[in-house]
Amino acid sequence: MITGSQKPINEIIKLVEPYKKVLILGCGTCVKTCFAGGEDEVAVLASALRLSFKQMAKSIDIEELTIERQCENEFIQEASPGIARNEAILSLACGAGVQAMAKRFAKEVVLPGVNTTFIGIQESPGIFTEECSGCGNCSLAIFGGVCPVTRCAKKLLNGPCGGSQNGVCEIDPDTPCAWHLIIERLTTLGQLDNLKTYIPPKNWNTSLSGGPRKLIREDHII
């Protein structure tokens, strides 16, 4: 999932201040799971904005809507009537969702209400961790399913640095050493020999460092 957190309310207030009618548009998938932009967060933000604007004696009409996914045209369609009724859309989706809305509604103001953070998982209730950097060339098979590209602070691909101590990374005692985890996993799987494979310097052309990427599935293009 894509994780993110809602922007500070005062930043959001500044974004919506110029408009009298605002649609707060939630996304019911990733950002809902990380409590940044599902219908509950839309409702709380709408209420907080109303209270805030009432204190300033400013009038603002806020409409609330949460669609299944803002990154897919099929679901975006549902927001059309609400968008037509408002002057601006405050999207609580990730950056992909915000941009999908902006592409689909080229003449509408679409504002971001969430800071998109990373591709990750909910490790335990309320705790989200980054697991994948979308490097475009996945090597998890060799690393026992633990990604050093993302989870090793130095992105080391051929074993730990000298700073790994008691299973934690030297950059932060709250960060597990990815290489400690890789070795533990490979031991469990009986695949420690994987460590003998030399991993050459990574070709970052397939990652964002190679410029914006595009995925093409010819068989789905009509």
Binding site: N10, D40, R50, K54
Partner: protein
């Protein structure tokens, strides 16, 4: 502009933490909201109580270890703390929202909480969004 002299309170409570007794609500208007468990305390309900004109919102829940669903009171406290930060951020003063561990039988403690809330409101002031509520 509405004249709003008698403080308005909304009191959310779980079934084990509150029972109304005579004179408990002297000098204020109180709307009570009964919850099956403190874990039903939701951020949006607390905020909507302020939108509805409450000057202060109280949440009464069981003592931490007394919650029959184990963690209801702890969850309620975390949600209250979260809404307090929102209130602070929007200039409404988080102190107008509070949570207490009470038992229904202890009406003296509950009356005391309400009266102390009224005293605190003299410093905090009325709901600042009230005069502009639609």
């Amino acid at each position: 502009m509405e004249i709003h002299n008698t403080p308005k309170l909304t009191l959310f409570h779980c079934i084990n933490s509150f029972e109304e007794t005579p004179s408990m609500f002297d000098n204020c208007q109180v709307k009570t909201v009964k919850m099956a468990c403190a874990s039903m305390t939701k951020d949006i309900h607390l905020l909507r109580a302020f939108e509805a004109g409450s000057d202060a919102v109280l949440v009464l829940v069981c003592p931490d270890k007394g919650c029959r669903y184990a963690q209801g009171s702890i969850r309620a406290k975390k949600r209250v703390d979260y809404v307090k930060t929102i209130l602070d951020d929007i200039g409404m003063d988080g102190r107008r929202l509070s949570i207490f561990n009470t038992t229904a039988k202890d009406s003296r403690a509950i009356t005391d909480i309400i009266q102390k809330t009224l005293v605190a409101l003299e410093t905090i002031g009325p709901n600042p969004a009230l005069n502009h509520l639609n």
